[in-house]
Subunit: 153 residues, 3 copies
């Protein structure tokens, strides 16, 4: 069991079972020593979850939970990319956090911290990443957060 | 004639004639073996086309056609980047699909499939890419879709 | 003094003093010979500034000034990444320009030119970059523009 999965386990977190997208894109590509994860949704039990908008019907805490759920799905796909061994990650390079929010919402960084905090809790200094956090007018299936990620292996 | 352009030709598709942006940015940069395409608009006959919003005055099919048009413009620029030989592409690494949509629109993945499907039809397995698809509040000139792309050569 | 800072000085521009984000992300990561800057806000004297929306209470000129301010903050962080020597930049690879704008705003490219022009004024041909410019529904603290950037060193 990888060190990262021991960390997950110690926190009571389980990686979801993930499946291939039902379309002509893939969950990740590998180019040189960089792994590019697709924009990843908060999927729970195979279904898009956390349907709602920040600034309307979701609290910041719910947004953070959504961001965390996106990261778990990212790590599940990344584990597949790395033949099961998440310890091969040398650096979480960059996260892109898209927050489904109303035009007057301004706390995107707090929502994105749900993703950033989990990365650092799991990966330590290797998990400290560049990121952007922006508000978007809508997201697939109406989910509250979508996260894309680049890793160095 | 490159294999990719034969595929285009067989589908009755023609790469548009593209010009340099009238500003201090360029259609693409090359860094190592990665080519970064600028966010590319649906330009037809030199003019931004497909002006409209998903969820308002554009159907999903029109959105898909717009995404496809962005990809044709991307490939026209990429051909210039690769001295005319699109067969030098080793991998379509990543697409970023920005959909100009109303706050209640949720079918961004279907729109983005217009871009993804064409990539795979042309490049085969090499065309399978990571991607994100998000809804944005607006796009340059009011176009319905903007696509950016990263290729490995 | 680096050539780039001489250019800044000749233009009467001063790099701001920047600090680490108060969160689990960092202003930049380095992966191979690429430097990835976080989505960077228009910070003045340590505070998010240029609070407003294009198409509502901000003119295009104010948007351009905001984009320029984001670039100054990017360069301040980049200088730290490069141990004080901005001349180590081999290429400005890519800018991502997020414009906080109303749904009917369509001049995102003009706003983004505020960032692009400064890059080319400072770096010359090395500063010519790929970029995307999109309208978003909101940005952290309500600022008008956020810019992320990738450099080759």
């Amino acid at each position: 069991m990888s060190r990262i999965e021991q960390q997950l386990s110690a926190k009571g977190l389980v990686l979801p079972t993930v499946s291939m997208p039902a379309a002509n894109y893939v969950p990740y590509t590998v180019s040189g020593n960089q792994v590019f994860l697709s924009g990843t949704l908060p999927i729970v039990d195979g279904k898009p979850s956390f349907i709602g908008k920040l600034g309307d019907n979701f609290t910041i805490e719910q947004g953070q939970e959504t961001a965390r759920c996106c990261v778990l799905n990212i790590l599940a796909h990344l584990k597949n990319a790395l033949n099961g061994d998440l310890d091969r990650v040398k650096r979480v390079v960059r996260l892109g956090v898209f927050v489904n929010a109303t035009p007057d919402f301004t706390d995107h960084p707090k929502v994105a911290n749900g993703a950033s905090d989990l990365m650092v809790e799991l990966f330590g200094d290797v998990g400290r990443h560049a990121r952007f956090a922006v508000g978007v007018s809508g997201l697939p299936f109406g989910v509250a957060v979508e996260v894309d990620a680049t890793f160095e292996i």
